[in-house]
């Protein structure tokens, strides 16, 4: 039972992270998720001082507000023109995170607000923190929290899909048409903050970053439609959560750690094998071009010397290397692939064009 619950929590968290993550990746501000997931700590701590209750929903609100403030500070620093955005991120969030750490160390030493847990989380313990009302067990708290976050994120992105898309692709046009890109930016940052604070307890802030950035970055390599990118990010996140869980089970390792690793492996696989944008596809395309070009050169050469007196010399496979100054490899590729595609036939030690080969040679010369 706890096993199943852990997997459900992991999947719900992965889904909740992937949705706003897709827009962060497309806006090229992925690292804001890193900043926000750390910088929310002082917000949580301050809200805890106010409520003195670790289960209060005010903690989430406090964190969300801190997250939006973090994004605002980074933006303000960025706008001074004195530092670039990456440096602004690096300047803002360590300060806020440290304030949180100091507050805990100084005033909340006896409370269960554990820095290790903030960074790494512990999914394995999530099923033990349950919501019990009137003696009835309603399930793990983390599931309720992340389920709500997922609902909020889904509602946010489906209702404002068109606005988010436009303001991500072309912010000036969005502004000119009256859709405030600034408002949308901060709504998105609010969603990321709520997601980060909801998730950090269960999975820790490192996995939050992995789940926010990894699945959308992977999906980006696999599709060229925004709607499919969102769905694919969700699917990849889900798969990474499940595979990561069972990998940790087999290896007896940290669940969050192996999930983050699997996210990385998925990205690497997509980077290599993506049908259009993958490295291997690119290599195959380049090879295909080279082979086609070599084929064309061979066909054009044969066409030129077809039915001429020197055909018996020019159309010998051995002669091609010397005459076209091809190396053995390329000549071999051109001849073999042309024979295979039935563009040429070999008769009496000479290569002859077939009618298809002749046609391709003529086309190649026109183009």
């Amino acid at each position: 039972m706890p096993q199943l619950e852990i997997q459900i929590i992991a999947v719900v968290t992965a889904l909740a992270c992937a949705l706003p993550g897709a827009f962060l990746v497309l806006r090229r501000v992925s690292m804001l998720s890193d900043a926000i997931s750390h910088a929310i700590l002082p917000g949580i701590v301050l809200a805890f001082f106010l409520t003195e209750d670790l289960n209060s929903p005010l903690l989430i609100l406090g964190a969300a507000v801190t997250g939006v403030i973090t994004a605002g500070l980074i933006e303000a620093l960025n706008r001074t023109g004195r530092v670039r955005e990456d440096a602004a991120i690096g300047l803002v969030f360590p300060v806020l995170f440290s304030i949180g750490v100091i507050l805990i160390a100084r005033y909340a030493g006896g409370v269960h607000l554990d820095i290790d847990a903030v960074l790494l989380g512990e999914l394995a313990f999530a099923p033990f923190d349950r919501i019990v009302i009137g003696g009835r067990d309603l399930g793990p708290k983390a599931l309720w929290v992340m389920g709500s976050v997922l609902l909020v994120n889904t509602a946010f992105i489906t209702t404002l899909y068109k606005e988010l898309k436009l303001s991500t692709f072309d912010p000036p046009l969005a502004a000119a048409l009256g859709f405030s890109p600034v408002l949308l930016h901060y709504l998105l940052m609010g969603a990321v903050s709520v997601t980060a604070v909801g998730a950090f307890d269960a999975v820790g802030s490192i996995l939050v970053v992995a789940l926010v950035v990894g699945p959308p970055a992977t999906a980006y390599l696999l599709t060229d439609s925004l709607a499919r990118l969102l769905l694919l990010s969700a699917a990849i996140g889900t798969l990474a959560a499940l595979v990561g869980y069972w990998a940790s089970h087999l290896a007896d390792a940290s669940i969050a750690g192996s999930m983050a690793t699997v996210v990385g492996i998925f990205f690497f696989l997509a980077y290599l094998f993506a049908p259009q944008q993958g490295v291997i596809a690119a290599i195959r395309r380049a090879r295909g071009h080279r082979r086609r070009f070599a084929q064309q050169m061979l066909l054009v050469h044969l066409l030129h010397h077809e039915d001429t007196p020197e055909a018996s010399r020019e159309c010998q496979p051995e002669h091609l290397q010397e005459h076209l100054r091809w190396n053995e490899e390329i000549a071999g590729i051109a001849i073999k692939s042309s024979l295979r595609d039935r563009l040429v036939v070999s008769r009496g030690g000479l290569l002859h064009l077939t009618s298809e080969g002749r046609e391709i040679a003529r086309e190649a010369m026109v183009a």
């Binding site: 497309l26 209702t159 000036p172 046009l173 502004a175 000119a176 009256g178 499919r228």
Partner: protein, 262 residues
């Protein structure tokens, strides 16, 4: 439609205390096709952005059809510089064109069948209908420019502000775009275009604004596009002195004929 389409009064825009536009005035009559020319850094793009409320003026006033831009958003279509967006964004040509209609839809309402059809019509006008489903990263520079143009057409406005619509476009496509702009004007629309090629100003446009941080001159091409004003705009280094040879006007190309040559 007569009257003033765009009225700019005493407009000053500064980036961190450096003025990029100084006290600019402009009365753009409705129904003209105007070139905005000036050297690099003259504030041409900033002027367009200020009219659209995208940059905050340090001083001055902009009126569109006699009202602040906020209440006249629907009247204005905008073609930003081609390089201002990420062409690797996962979306299709038709999708980008339909973005032009988002303003009319307003918040929350989704584009539907009517918008798809209007988007296809706009694409047909720039001879890009065959590319509707294409991912935008697969387009050439000229095709990108035509998609942006189609998006502006889909906005169905009466005033068109275009930032370098001829940038990275081959000669054939440029002619076709010009024909399209002149059609917009003959339908009573107002078109203002940031333009770099001084040679083609008299041929393409009927109005011109010469800008170099300050407004140097504005008016009909015959009035304002003088050697003296050009020297004042470009600081003596006029890249073009108006030739005397009267070239016959080239035959206008249509996009539908030109598209095959891209």
């Amino acid at each position: 439609m007569n009257g003033t389409a765009i009225e700019v009064r005493d407009l000053t825009v500064a980036y961190r205390d450096t003025p990029v536009l100084w006290d600019v005035d402009l009365d753009l009559p409705a129904g003209v096709l105007m070139a905005i020319v000036g050297p690099n850094g003259a504030g041409k793009t900033t002027l367009i952005k200020a009219i659209l409320g995208l940059v905050e003026p340090a001083a001055g006033l902009v009126l569109v059809n006699g009202s602040p831009y906020r209440s006249e958003r629907r009247a204005v279509a905008y073609v930003p510089q081609r390089g201002s967006v990420d062409w690797d964004f996962p979306t299709s040509v038709l999708d980008v064109v339909m973005m032009g209609m988002y303003g009319r839809l307003g918040w929350l309402r989704r584009p539907g069948k009517a918008e798809r059809e209007a988007g296809m019509q706009a694409l047909e006008k720039v001879a890009m209908a065959d590319f509707a489903g294409r991912q935008i990263s697969q387009l050439s520079g000229g095709q990108q420019q035509r998609v942006f143009l189609a998006r502006a057409l889909a906005q169905d406005a009466s005033i068109y502000l275009m930032d370098e619509p001829f940038q990275g476009v081959d000669a054939t496509t440029e002619r076709a775009i010009v024909v399209l702009l002149q059609e917009l004007r003959s339908q009573g629309n107002t078109v203002a275009v940031v333009h770099h090629d001084l040679q083609t100003v008299p041929e393409y446009f009927d109005w011109v604004l010469l800008l170099n941080v300050r407004r140097i001159a504005a008016g009909t091409v015959a009035e304002a596009f003088t050697d003296e004003n050009l020297r004042a705009t470009y600081g003596g280094r006029v890249p073009y002195l108006r030739g005397t040879s009267a070239e016959p006007p080239p035959e206008p190309f249509r996009l539908d004929r030109a598209s095959g040559l891209e």
